[in-house]
């Protein structure tokens, strides 16, 4: 028994993203004892394969090609499909990231398969693999099953816990040659706007600011708060549009979806499009001067007050806690 599951690993700045390890954990559940094969694509990436094994992959297949140095749906789909043909898996798991969202529908279409996107939970009940996913901008959830053929899902980052890293685990790493050809879309230029440091979509603590911060200068208040907490800084659309910070910090339906342990919303009103990107956070704190602000409806803890007074005090108090610990 058991299913063979193929999992796509994903890189950011030449490092494996956490979601790749979470996808392996999801694959383990789906596999029910079957083999979990991780797939690693890129120009020169073989050295990373072992880490995938340490996080639970039984085996790693590597496809290296200079045309895979940058993502393109044509190039990556050719590599994935070649490996799918060779491995013949019963299930496939991708991360629900910009790359996964772009690539998975094409691969599903080529395989004539269904696709369950943006999964936050996987369980096996009564012989069925059941997936939970948010719908209606996160206001509701649905449970889905695959009724015909291949099981294909993408998993939302930071929801399915990765397995404990086990450095003693070993597994086979093999290379497959795939001829990558006819790329129809060519990346001419990449303007990096994402800052170094903690990856927002994978951060355990997010401090997010809104239009209430009033200026780019004001927005800097959040840097220090995020730093004491070891977290990342995020923003509402309002703050991005007003030019207080870069769009790469935007959280919500059009921005990043985050699920940290702690989300601190500062001067954010709580529009539905913003909530769609953070309402699944484990603990939510709201700091807003308007007691009627929508953000308080989903907050676990709230302080009604002027953020310019509250945030510096909070940063100080957290520093004290750190010193005492």
């Amino acid at each position: 028994m058991g299913r063979k599951v193929l999992v796509l690993a994903e890189l950011k700045d030449n490092k494996l993203r956490n979601v790749s390890f979470e996808a392996i954990a999801a694959a383990k559940t789906i596999a029910e004892g079957g083999e979990v094969v991780s797939l690693l694509l890129g120009e020169s990436v073989e050295s990373l394969a072992n880490e995938l094994v340490q996080y639970g992959a039984d085996r790693v297949v590597v496809v290296e090609d200079e045309k895979l140095a940058q993502y393109s749906s044509d190039g990556f789909s050719q590599a994935v499909l070649a490996v799918v043909e060779e491995e013949d898996p019963e299930a496939i798991v991708f991360g629900h990231t910009a790359l996964g969202k772009d690539l998975s529908p094409k691969v599903a279409s080529k395989l004539d398969a269904g696709l369950v996107s943006d999964v936050v939970d996987v369980e096996v009940t009564g012989g069925n693999v059941v997936f939970t996913r948010p719908i209606y901008s996160g206001k509701a959830f649905e449970k889905k099953i695959v009724t015909d053929g291949l099981i294909f899902v993408t998993v939302r980052p930071n929801n399915i816990p990765a397995l404990e890293k086990d450095e003693s685990r070993t597994g086979d790493v093999s290379k497959v040659d795939v001829e990558i050809k006819d790329l129809r879309t060519i990346i001419k230029e990449v303007v990096k706007k994402t800052s170094e440091g903690v990856d927002l979509s994978e951060a355990k603590v997010v401090v997010a600011g809104g239009r209430g911060l009033k200026s780019a200068e004001g927005f800097k208040l959040l840097d220090e708060l995020a730093e004491v907490l070891g977290g990342a800084v995020g923003a509402s659309r309002g703050a991005c549009d007003a030019g207080y910070c870069d769009y790469s910090l935007q959280i919500g339906q059009t921005g990043k979806v985050v699920t940290p342990d702690l989300y601190i919303a500062v001067g954010i009103s709580g529009a539905i499009q913003h909530l769609a990107g953070m309402s699944n956070s484990k603990v939510i704190v709201a700091i807003n001067k308007d007691p009627e602000a929508n953000i308080f409806k989903i907050a676990d803890y709230g302080i009604v007050g002027d953020l310019f007074e509250v945030v510096p005090k909070l940063t100080e108090e957290l520093k004290k806690l750190k010193v005492n610990a």
Partner: protein, 257 residues
């Protein structure tokens, strides 16, 4: 230029969501054009005005979607097509929807197809890329800028906040991200004109499709609301004490710091 927009009628998720009989309760709910599809309609109109041609808006859905199609016509689209599946299909998924749309577009020789990046209700973002694949044309998702020069196309794609400038060629499918443009409101003359613009209605039969050809590959077995959050705790008292209490709660009660 032969331009198509894929438009979905969606539940306005700003509304309160309730469940009855295991489904999202749609009685009395507000339905809108999926917001990302409004960007697609706007961009299509701008491309047509610059390069000439015709904009056709296509929806797979039921009779009720006529309203949203008329709105797109009032914005300035030229024609609308409703592929009405109400009577034929009970269960559909993205596989179904994409296959129906691609079958319809199969003999239309589109130069440019615009879709939304994601539908705000079901939210998978699958339909655009699936349709492109079935038609054998390239696609670029989440675009914030589009320039067309002959057959050459340059787009800016949003990738988790980074910007990629990508070159490709027509025919092409793109999906719209917020920031692409500011959708116009239908004008009064636009609304009057829209009443006379063609809105064709088709069924699966007209596309030579059987229910079996488009049978869904996935199924929803349960819909539920998240457990009601106990009302959050709004702190009181002197600000200094509130801050101390918050830190203590986060440390000792929630245990997240």
């Amino acid at each position: 230029m032969n331009i198509y927009v894929l438009l979905k009628r969606t539940f306005d998720t700003e509304e309160r969501i309730t469940i009855s009989g295991g489904r999202i309760n749609e009685d009395g709910a507000e339905f809108i054009i999926n917001p990302y599809d409004e960007y697609a309609v706007e961009e299509a109109i701008q491309v047509r005005d610059e390069h000439g041609g015709e904009v056709t808006v296509v929806t797979v859905g039921g009779e009720d979607a006529e309203k949203q199609l008329r709105t797109a016509l009032a914005m300035g689209a030229d024609k609308a097509v409703l592929i009405n599946i109400e009577d034929d299909l009970d269960v559909t998924d993205q596989y179904t929807t994409a296959k129906i749309i691609a079958t319809y577009l199969g003999d239309k020789e589109p130069d440019l197809i615009l879709a939304g990046n994601v539908a705000i209700d079901n939210g998978t973002g699958q339909v655009g890329p699936r349709v492109a694949d079935l038609l054998g044309i390239p696609y670029i998702t989440t675009i914030t800028d589009l320039k067309i020069d002959g057959d050459k196309v340059t787009v800016v794609k949003d990738v988790e906040g980074d910007e990629e400038t990508i070159e490709t060629t027509l025919p092409l499918l793109v999906t719209a991200q917020q920031g692409l443009n500011e959708p116009r409101y239908p004008s009064l003359p636009g609304i009057m004109k829209a009443k006379k613009k063609p809105l064709d209605e088709l069924e699966l039969d007209d596309l030579d499709l059987d229910e079996d050809d488009v049978e869904a590959k996935t199924k929803t077995i349960e819909v539920f609301l998240p457990p009601a959050k106990s009302a959050g705790k709004v702190l009181e008292g002197e600000l200094d004490d509130q801050v101390k209490e918050l830190v203590s709660l986060l440390h000792n009660e929630a245990k997240v710091i």
